[in-house]
């Protein structure tokens, strides 16, 4: 019992540690052992994000729970390293351990599965190049940025793109990104701001790649079958984060942080989803004040504040497109009389063509209203004929381990709550987690745009002259919407009475 719940406890501990660290490093970075261990707000954000991803992996069900825990802890520890070599090394080690987990995507060719797990080697190479060229391995040291050059930047950017599995855009299969590793590689990319400002060429490269991936990923999410949209939406969100980094401003970094925080919610609700769960509406950017809506707004506002109108429109379009798959999934008819909510459907699908539409019955279903235990339900599909999820081929003991900790319906509701909390609480997330990041990396940022909490109103984006360029008065909107909803309800009741 203790051993079975240990992965969950370890990840919950990591999450708590991340939140405590965010509080401790809110005002200034913490350093120990001559800077070899260094924690700032960005480190705390990474710890929170990877812990959330780990918890999502457990909730969704995996045969490699300990591997997920180890990878999350290793990436979190990488975030606490002040030594560039140690940072890259721990990420690479996490990549090697990620192998077992990525094998779940058995529908992809073997070499394809190796790309994201080997991506951190790019970070190792980039960090080593910085250390060797500049002669300083501690990124907190005054002259640490001396070794940062175009080659090291390119290596780390490419590593982030490979960890997101952006090369899947050119192929037919779904991306096989490893979200924890990708978060680590994005952290490494953003960490470069600690070394100094990026030159315009690097900013442009990141902007271009990020905007392209965000838009193309959103497009692929729309054209893919809805139950397979999650990896594409994750890729699109990752593209948005890279574009945010490419803006090189405080506003851009807010986009990176918010996208990283939102990603676990999308995975939780949309990986192995349940069709027809109304809660999934809250994972659509079309729903005002949801997490994806605010993420889209942040990206658009940051691009507008940075004076990049073409990117503004591209990210706007990406947000519009990305809003559709979760909405379609939520609006889909709920398959009736299905078997256990095992989450086995997508695993079954993953053995076929990665983008092939799923049989409707393969989408994980919710338990019946009676709340009967899944194992006792009447199986209606061979995939769930035992009432248990499918395990990896050849693994007789894995079937119990793959069993998701939460039913798909439960995951959908939890993801919806996370998304709503992140959307409505965006000013708090900004003030508590993201503003300290931008403040501590200020030395490497450009002044082109800042997004701040608008006291008792919502969020506001300023351009370089401190003029507001975009406004999201979420609190005022919510208040006004309550008033208007009450008025509309009264009017509709009166109309109904008149008709009767």
């Amino acid at each position: 019992m203790v051993l079975r719940n240990a992965p969950l406890a370890l990840l919950a501990l990591l999450l708590a540690a991340g939140l405590i660290l965010a509080g401790l490093a809110h005002d200034a970075p913490l350093a120990r052992q001559d800077g070899l261990l260094r924690a700032d707000a960005l480190s705390a954000l990474l710890v929170v994000v990877v812990a959330a991803h780990g918890l999502v992996t457990l909730a969704r069900g995996t045969a490699h729970r300990w591997s997920a825990v180890a990878v999350a802890w290793l990436v979190a520890m990488a975030g606490l390293q002040g030594h560039l070599g140690a940072l890259g090394g721990l990420l690479a080690l996490a990549g090697l351990l990620t192998g077992a987990e990525s094998l779940e995507r058995a529908g992809l060719p073997g070499w394809s599965r190796q790309v994201p797990r080997l991506a951190p080697l790019g970070v190792v190479a980039g960090m080593a190049l910085i250390g060797l060229t500049g002669g300083e391995w501690n990124y907190g040291a005054p002259l640490a940025g001396a070794g940062l050059n175009s080659l090291s930047f390119a290596l780390i950017l490419v590593a982030a793109l490979l960890a997101l599995d952006a090369r899947a855009l050119a192929g037919e299969g779904a991306p096989a990104s490893a979200p924890i590793l990708a978060s680590g590689c994005l952290y490494a990319l953003v960490r470069l701001f600690s070394l100094g400002p990026w030159n315009p060429g690097w900013l442009f490269a990141a902007l271009l790649m990020g905007g392209l991936i965000a838009l193309w990923g959103a497009w692929r999410a729309v054209v893919a079958p809805v139950e397979r949209a999650a990896p594409w939406l994750g890729l699109s969100l990752g593209g948005m984060a890279i574009a945010g980094a490419g803006m090189g401003s405080a506003a851009g970094l807010s986009v990176v942080g918010y996208a990283l925080l939102l990603w676990p919610a999308l995975r939780l609700g949309l990986e192995r989803p349940v069709a027809g769960a109304r809660a999934l509406w809250l994972l659509s950017a079309a729903v005002p004040l949801s997490g994806p809506f605010v993420a889209g707004w942040l990206a658009i506002a940051a691009a507008a504040a940075g004076g990049v109108p073409a990117l503004t429109v591209a990210l706007w379009l990406a947000a519009l497109l990305a809003a559709l798959p979760p909405a379609r999934l939520a609006g889909a008819p709920r398959p009736a009389g299905l078997a256990a909510p095992t989450g086995a459907g997508l695993e079954q699908g993953e053995r076929g063509h990665p983008d092939a539409p799923l049989d409707a019955t393969l989408v994980a279903s919710a338990p019946p209203p009676g709340g009967e235990a899944p194992d006792k339900q009447e199986p209606s599909h061979p995939a769930a004929s035992t009432g248990r999820p499918r395990a990896e081929p050849g693994s007789s003991t894995a079937s119990a381990a793959v069993r998701p900790a939460l039913t798909p319906e439960g995951r959908a509701w939890l993801a919806a709550a996370y998304s709503a909390g992140l959307g409505l609480g965006a000013p708090l997330a900004l003030a508590g987690l993201l503003t300290p990041v931008t403040a501590q990396l200020q030395g490497g940022l450009t002044p082109f745009g800042e997004i701040v909490a608008w006291p008792w109103a919502g969020l506001i984006a300023f351009d370089t002259t401190r003029q507001p360029v975009a406004t999201l008065p979420s609190v005022a909107l919510a208040g006004l919407m309550l008033v208007l909803s009450a008025l509309c309800w009264v009017a509709l009741r009166l109309l109904a009475l008149r008709e009767h």
Binding site: A286, V469, T471
Partner: protein
């Protein structure tokens, strides 16, 4: 907190009378008649009127920066306004099998218009659309943006839901396109019209002008609207590049 509660408390004329409330209801009904006369009534069946569909477009109408209503300190920007106005359509769209390419075509002109006005006014806030820029390229961009917005509306309205929520959505989209016209009118009439008079006189004139322009756009064949839109989009890009090169 006090400021927010105060602003909400002072917003009751906006909520009940103008630009939301009574005005929104009447004007949306008139607009739907006008659209039906132009053969562009929303083609999708009207979903039952529900609070969840009515409230978001009504919020946008309530918060539009239209005189003579008292200014609301927490204004919206274009992406938020468009998202709230498109909510009823998205609800229906989720259940319909509309090709992604069609979706892109629906929003191509409104987004080109947004690009134009963002460059012309230097931001995305709705209140900025009322500010008539000083330089000629920005003025041209703002006019072009308003024209593209109105030209893109027939397609967006045709492929949309009917009913009360659809009508409020249509009115909101039209009034957003009205704002640059109002700014241009205010700049032109500023020297000889007192501010109070302008606040009462110009909004109806701008709204009628926009509705008439929409009537013209309704009669443009869709193929031609696409071509004009493509040419307008190219012009927007050229002007935006020129404006950017002169500003920064």
């Amino acid at each position: 907190m006090g400021e927010l509660l105060g602003a909400l408390g002072l917003a009751w004329p906006r909520v009940l009378l103008y630009p939301g409330g009574l005005f929104a209801l009447v004007a949306s009904l008139v607009l739907m008649r006008w659209l039906a006369a132009g053969g562009t009534a929303p083609a999708w069946p009207a979903p039952p009127a529900t609070v969840i569909d009515l409230a978001p477009p009504l919020v946008v109408l309530t918060l539009l920066p239209l005189a003579p209503a008292r200014p609301f300190p927490f204004g919206l920007d274009l992406p938020v306004a468009l998202a709230l106005l498109e909510w009823p359509r998205f609800r229906v769209l989720a259940a319909r099998d509309r090709a992604p390419a069609e979706l892109l075509r629906d929003y191509a002109l409104p987004l080109a218009a947004a690009l134009a006005v963002a460059v012309a006014t230097g931001g995305l806030e709705l209140s900025r659309l009322l500010r008539w820029p000083g330089a000629v390229p920005e003025q041209a961009l703002l006019v072009l943006g308003a024209a593209l917005w109105l030209l893109g509306l027939p397609r967006l309205l045709r492929a949309g839901p009917g009913g009360a929520a659809g009508a409020l959505r249509a009115l909101g989209l039209l009034l957003v396109g009205t704002l640059p016209l109002l700014g241009a009118l205010a700049a032109a009439a500023g020297p000889w019209l007192p501010a109070d008079g302008a606040g009462w006189l110009l909004p109806p004139v701008a709204m009628l002008s926009a509705a008439l322009a929409l009537g013209v756009a309704l009669r443009v064949p869709e193929r031609w609207a696409g071509r004009i839109g493509a040419a307008g989009g190219a012009l927007v890009l050229a002007l935006a590049a020129y404006a950017a090169s002169t500003v920064r």
